[in-house]
């Protein structure tokens, strides 16, 4: 037996496997990144240059920021942005208050029928949004809340899943802390604010991030409930831009708008990368 030869062929084989693996991984990375590259590239091409390219060019030598100027002036992009930020902040804020209070009641307080109510809550998780959106649309319309922030925000400020997530987390805090606080005469609300929330901050941050992503991308409900541009969120704004925005098919300007809309979440992701990925693994959906 020629051991040297055997060893060499084994080494060659493992190297081939490694190269194939990297090639495959790089291929998918390119597939993921390419649309982002293309949107940035197109957004810095001038309108004339873009439309004269019968064969699309993979680079540009004369980048321009004209499209970004146009994106902010020709369509109410700033308005869409402000609306989305307001919507996201309000929805996430109210949701945090509602879910934390409910989770606290389930985790810390004792009351009759607690287990029954909690089971009922959990069973609500199975109700898909698509089934209730029809009546919610009618409810909001009849309440005269179309084209208002209240109409946009109210239906999405509770999440049974987040209540469940927070309750599980709250329940892990040892009872002794609570009794100690009680002996010191701390009220329940103060205990929640001063002890439980600080201890469970990681979960609360996770919930916040997941909700912010959800809000920033929400499309269906805002589309149903708003037809006045003054209340459009970015998703609806981009759809509006696509259908009758810059006129004359100004694709570079559209792409500039797309870049501006995509940027905040990408920055947020790059900053809180670990946190977001752990959070989605723990409680994300979409897939």
């Amino acid at each position: 037996m020629d051991y040297e030869k055997l060893e060499r062929s084994a080494r060659l084989r493992s190297r081939a496997v490694k190269i194939t693996t990297y090639a495959l991984l790089t291929l998918w990375a390119v597939m993921v990144l390419f649309p982002f590259y293309w949107m940035v590239l197109t957004s810095v091409k001038s309108y004339g240059a873009y439309n004269s390219e019968w064969i699309p060019r993979l680079y540009t030598l004369s980048p321009t920021l004209q499209n970004y100027r146009e994106a902010f002036t020709a369509v109410p992009l700033t308005g869409y942005f402000v609306n989305t930020i307001l919507f996201t902040l309000a929805t996430t804020g109210i949701m945090l208050v509602v879910t934390v209070l409910a989770a606290f009641a389930f985790a810390r307080l004792n009351f009759q029928g607690k287990d029954l109510v909690f089971t009922l809550f959990l069973s609500l998780m199975m109700i898909p949004n698509e089934l209730v959106v029809i009546t919610n649309f009618v409810t909001i319309t009849n309440a005269g809340l179309r084209n208002t922030f209240a109409g946009l925000i109210l239906p999405s400020v509770t999440s049974v899943f987040y209540i469940y997530l927070l309750k599980e987390n709250f329940a892990q805090i040892p009872d002794e802390l609570y009794y100690a606080a009680k002996v010191d005469g701390t009220s329940d609300l103060k205990y929640l604010l001063r002890v439980m929330i600080p201890i469970c901050r990681p979960t609360i941050v996770t919930v916040t991030i997941l909700k912010v992503i959800e809000c920033w991308n929400s499309y269906v409900w805002p589309r149903l409930i708003t037809d006045d541009q003054a209340y459009f969120l970015v998703s609806n704004g981009i759809q509006e831009i696509r259908e009758n925005g810059f006129g004359r098919d100004n694709i570079p300007a559209m792409m500039a708008a797309v870049v501006v809309i995509s940027l905040p979440l990408i920055v947020l992701f790059l900053v809180f990368r670990k946190k977001i990925m752990a959070g989605v693994a723990q409680g994300g959906t979409k897939g």
Binding site: M39, A102, F104, V117, I134, T158, N217, S235, R242, S262
Partner: protein, 296 residues
């Protein structure tokens, strides 16, 4: 006790109020709507009670088109995305260098706005009078003729929709599968290596059984998610999906509710309930199958 009782209900009150108004009441109401025949949303009156709305929806060519599209989408994207995600996750867990970088890149689609990036996909695939688009440029290298993927033949549009759907759902699947792979106990692998087990055998006999609960979780959520596809299609083909022959069941529900063809909450309700009957059936079948093949 009496004191805490009251206080606890006070803490629960906001959540219960919101859930009651926007989740429980609508759930009951949607069944009522679906049974009210000839409901008029302006006068809020109806003729009678029965199953006519279901019959109407089931005979509506737009609904049948949406049903067909959704089923094709589900049957193509769920196995494909799960398979590719598994392949990529296995590759990812076998390397050390650059792993964090790859993982970060793969996760990007999760945090992007579906509508916004869908527009980029549309431009990549669209054929306009000025340009054939990048997808057609690549096709031409292989000698294939230009195809309009956005306004062209049915299968071309379906291809783009499937492609984009896979692109959108991959981050979640890769993330979940890589963490499942990382949590497999190393002792199994060491034992197998001592026995001189081949790599393929290790994969099919150790890795797959160990991650099978995660895999089935992904398949089930994948089915549910794909059946509810809607905004991906809007991003690519615009809001008038019926005209593009690319509507999905959820799209049909929303079109019936609102928009140019809207104002029929009864038909919308019937279609939504039909959708969930389908999803529930498929999920039950999945669970039955998984009981046979998943090792917990």
């Amino acid at each position: 006790m009496e004191q805490t009782n009251k206080k606890a209900w006070l803490y629960l009150l906001p959540a219960m109020a919101f859930l009651g108004i926007f989740l429980v009441y609508p759930l009951i109401d949607v069944f009522i709507y679906s049974l009210e025949e000839g409901y008029n949303s302006a006068s809020q009156t109806y003729f009678g009670v029965g199953l006519y709305n279901y019959a109407y929806v089931l005979h509506d060519p737009y609904f049948l088109q949406a049903l067909k599209n959704t089923f094709i989408l589900v049957l193509i994207t769920v196995p494909l995305s799960t398979g590719i995600a598994l392949l990529i996750s296995v590759g990812l867990s076998s390397i050390q260098k650059l792993r964090d970088l790859y993982q970060t890149v793969y996760f990007l689609p999760y945090v992007t706005n579906t509508l916004a990036v869908g527009l980029v996909f549309m431009i990549l695939f669209k054929k306009t009078p000025y340009t054939d688009g990048l997808a057609n440029l690549i096709l031409s290298w292989f000698g294939a003729g230009p195809i309009d993927f956005i306004d062209g033949p049915y299968w071309a549009k379906m291809f783009v929709l499937c492609f984009y759907t896979v692109w959108v759902v991959m981050p979640f699947k890769i993330l979940i599968l890589t963490s499942a792979l990382a949590s497999v106990d190393q002792t199994y692998y060491n034992a197998a290596r001592v026995d001189g087990t081949g790599k393929l055998r290790i994969f099919t006999r150790i890795t797959l059984p160990m991650i099978s609960p995660t895999l089935f979780y992904l398949i089930i959520t994948g089915f549910i998610g794909a059946f509810k596809a809607y905004s991906d299609a809007v991003a690519l083909f615009g809001t008038n999906l019926n005209a593009a022959q690319m509507n999905t069941i959820v799209g049909y529900v929303y079109d019936m509710l609102y928009g140019d063809s809207g104002g029929y909450p009864s038909y919308a309700s019937a279609a939504a309930i039909l959708l969930f009957a389908i999803v529930l059936t498929i999920t039950c079948i999945n669970l039955l199958v998984s009981r046979k093949h998943v090792h917990y």
